[in-house]
Amino acid sequence: MKPTETNGVDWRSESTSAPDVTTRERLREVYDERIHTPLLVAWADWRTRLGFLILGGYLLIALVAVLGLWREPSTSQAPRYLMLFENMNYPLGTTASGTDLAALIIHSTPDILLMITAGAVWATAVAVVIGTVAGYKGGRVDRALMSFSDLVMAIPGLPLVIILAVTLNPQNPILLGIVINISYWAGLGRSLRSQVLTIRENDYVEASRTMGVNTPQIIMKDIIPNLMPYVTVNFVFAARYVMFASVGLYFLGVLPYSTQNWGVTLNLAYSGGALFSWSAAHWLLAPMVAIMGLSLGLILLSQGLDRVFNPRVRTRMSGTSSSTANDNDDDRVTEVL
């Protein structure tokens, strides 16, 4: 059935000559459509703005640590048990061993950021591939992939990480992030699959299929955009999970102490009796605030991005049946203000 030159009719003439655009124009269009406009919309939401600001703050802190603008933490570098803001050289106070708490927090940041990014990228990338292919293809492929994720999912996350951490002793933050999220993709892939199951029944997917669009393209063009809100939100959740889990595991003392981490600080504070006296409360609170701040930034960002990718979240439950497109535009205007 392939059109050949011998039959005289160039079936593809329309598609090859009609769009007379240069690569640069196309790139520009993609930039406008995919990056510029979504960012504008995202920026209009206060949650995204705040989320970006908070994450930017943590990046700055990481930069301070990397450039060495703040002293390295070491024992007996300051008087013991300084309170919050008691001595402005050590604004967050000091620990029982006279370590500058601010230095501990600041120098933990770069590794934590690396770790959570690595873990989240790993988890969402694997989940999207497995989930969409399994859900869309169905049949034997689905069964094989789901059996595999069932197997992975059947292994409880934290206990597995604990056992792996003890045996592998990962020191590199990127590796540690992946180890912590080693089986995280399975659950996410499974829920993505169940969403794909409903999406693939949609008319436009069926239309694409009847038109003979190939599977990778249907997955890329018709299915993944529908999953984007879920994926972005879960990317952030995966990042948050890495942070919560790593800090928790450092807190338990099961991860190697080689890297400086808020969890290590928390552990030392907890075992150092900070729970029982007010004079050491800041020792416990400083890492907690650092954890919660980063987590808050991530969540705000995910909430804001959800609005960008998920136009249906914007549709209101208005009693009138007016077109939702108009409502959306009104929304956008009021939100910019």
Partner: protein, 334 residues
């Protein structure tokens, strides 16, 4: 249909089999694994070298001198008979330790996860219904704040305030010291009292996420045509809320619920350590610190089996709840 259930059930056994094999690999093949450690430990304790192998065989149901396939067979046969070996550090059969600790973990995880689910769905639905209202904004803010607090932070703070400072609730353990471990009113009361803080700290942080998920789902459903049609047909608000919106909004969260259960089973490792709550997670860490591999793998396996069963139930009931998804058979391949 029957075919599907048979296949799905077979898969459960296959999964458990694979995970059991994995624990064998972890025990037997990992570098610096328990054998070297155990052998050194026993020799240090003054056990004669001739007896060491016999002791290991007894503890772990594996004869170290047998060929690998023979060890594997022995291990799996013992497992199939419910024999998980003997704990090294506690000198007790692993099975009896698990039997006494698993109920506590299951209790805490199940109660708190159900609480999370119910409260989350309720709050999320209300927020979606009054989207953009002051209530919605307030609770969205609260949800986001709650989500950014890890449960162990809540646990440590709750322990500090309610147990150490105010002295309202016990600081550690599953029941009071003087309480006999049998079904009686003082036992139940003491158990409840000891579970309040773990359940509270394990519930609070997770509610926010669930509420936001439900809110998003509900808003998405509310925007659908069939809800508009239902409204035009003049159906009562209650009917629309329960039949049309709630049902379709809860659905994606249903598999999430069982997954959540699984993730949270693993999370008890940290929770139980903070409250010295002697459940599965507590023993996992105890075993880890004592290099007690039989106990470690035992807790690992039990948590795993619980998870496998959870997902199994989710799969079997999914098609009952969502008629759009036909279970297995008519599931055509593209």
């Amino acid at each position: 249909m029957v075919n599907y259930y048979v296949r799905r059930t077979a898969r459960v056994f296959a999964t458990i089999f694979m995970v059991a094999s994995l624990t064998f690999v972890l025990i037997r093949l990992l570098p610096g694994g328990p054998y070297t450690l155990l052998r050194a430990q026993l020799l240090r304790q003054g056990v004669p070298a001739s007896e060491v192998d016999a002791r290991i065989a007894n503890l772990q149901n594996i004869r170290p001198d047998a060929p690998l396939w023979q060890q594997y067979l022995d291990y799996m046969m013992a497992l199939a008979q419910g024999n998980l070996g003997e704990s090294i550090s506690l000198n007790e059969p692993v099975v009896s330790i698990l039997a006494s600790s698993a109920p506590w973990t299951v209790f805490v995880v199940l109660v708190s996860t159900i609480l999370v689910f119910v409260i989350g769905i309720f709050l999320g639905a209300l927020q979606a219904y009054w989207e953009g209202s002051r209530f919605d904004k307030l609770f969205s803010g609260i949800s986001i704040t709650l989500m950014s607090v890890p449960f162990y932070v809540v646990a440590v703070l709750a322990l500090y305030i309610f147990a150490y400072q105010l002295g309202w609730l016990p600081t550690a353990g599953t029941v009071g010291n003087g309480v006999e471990r049998q079904l009686s009113i003082p036992f139940v009361l003491s158990a409840l009292e000891h579970s309040v803080l773990p359940i509270f700290s394990y519930t609070l942080g997770a509610i926010g996420g669930q509420a936001l998920a439900m809110r998003g789902n509900s808003i998405q459903v509310l925007g659908n045509d069939y809800v508009q049609v239902a409204r035009l047909r003049g159906l009562s608000d209650r009917r629309i809320a329960t039949r049309y919106v709630a049902r379709n909004a809860i659905l994606p969260m249903y598999t999430g619920f069982l997954l959540l259960l699984g993730f949270r089973l693993g999370g008890t490792v940290i929770l139980e350590q903070i409250f010295s709550y002697t459940g599965l997670g507590y023993y996992l860490i105890t075993a880890l610190n004592a290099n007690d591999y039989p106990l470690m793998m035992g807790t690992f396996l039990v948590i795993t089996v619980a998870l496998v069963l959870g997902v199994y139930i989710a799969d079997l009931t999914y098609s009952k709840i969502d008629p759009r998804i036909s279970a297995g058979d008519s599931d055509e391949a593209y």
